[in-house]
């Protein structure tokens, strides 16, 4: 007896049909680059543990044009991740009901984006202030 060949609806390009799905896929795709950046950092930490020569090789690799280009893409993707993360936060976080009314989504998103701006600015300023 031959195996049943059930109909499988093709999934090719389903997400291109609707801008909502495109945004969803773009948001999910950021995960690949977050993993990539984690691996860049992981290599740096491992090389740091292997001593000065190994670590400086990693620093040198970061200066290559390919690495700069990669990190420009990573920066754009991380900014998109930040934006999308706080845009879906009104749906993903536990309900907050101050005075029995649901917190407006715009307040949740705005607070998150403001917090991210503060943290990022603080990190860059701290990096600038490190004595050389």
């Amino acid at each position: 007896m031959s195996a049943r060949r059930t109909y499988m609806r093709p999934m090719d390009g389903w997400w291109r049909r609707d801008p909502f799905f495109v945004r969803y896929m773009a948001r999910e795709a950021t995960a690949v680059l977050v993993v990539l950046y984690a691996l860049v950092l992981l290599v740096g930490v491992v090389r740091l543990g292997q001593g000065q020569a190994a670590y400086e090789g990693w620093l040198q690799a970061l200066k290559s044009p390919a690495s700069i280009a990669l990190h420009l893409v990573l920066l754009a993707v991380f900014l998109y991740h930040t934006w999308s993360w706080f845009n879906i936060m009104p749906k993903t976080m536990p309900l907050i009901l101050p005075n029995g009314k649901r917190l407006s989504p715009a307040v949740v998103t705005g607070t998150g984006l403001a917090a991210a701006a503060v943290v990022c600015l603080a990190l860059v300023i701290a990096a600038m202030k490190v004595a050389s």
């Binding site: 999910e28 740091l48 400086e56 490190v130």
Partner: protein
């Protein structure tokens, strides 16, 4: 009833997502653009002496460990749940690859940071 392990993976995903949303853009800019091109920041910001001292301090160690491992757990969780959307039917193998990869990265980061000492 067997307890689900989903909340553990979900919370790691959430923690990594929140950390990368709050600090990720600045980290990428500092480590991947500002330091290599020597713009805005001191040229020796990530020199071996600075990086080694940072990784020896408990707080620096904790930061580096959190960045690497939580970013990995965040990413693999999202990738795993998106496989279905690109037509890949997931099973134990996909799960092993995704979460096993994050676990391996976490262990390697932990081992490297411990080997740097305090």
């Amino acid at each position: 009833m067997k307890r689900s392990n989903a909340p553990i993976f979900w919370s790691m995903f959430g923690a990594g997502g929140m950390l990368s949303a709050l600090a990720g853009p600045a980290l990428v800019f500092i480590t991947g653009i500002a330091v290599p091109l020597a713009i805005l920041v001191p040229p020796d910001l990530m020199s071996y002496a600075h990086a080694h001292a940072f990784a020896q301090h408990w707080f620096g160690k904790a930061c580096l460990f959190a960045f690497v491992s939580l970013f990995l757990w965040h990413g693999v969780h999202r990738i795993f749940h998106s496989l279905h959307d690109i037509g890949i039917h997931t099973g134990a193998v996909a799960k092993l690859f995704c979460y096993g990869g994050a676990l391996a990265g976490t262990l390697i980061a932990g081992w490297a940071l411990l080997s740097i000492g305090f």
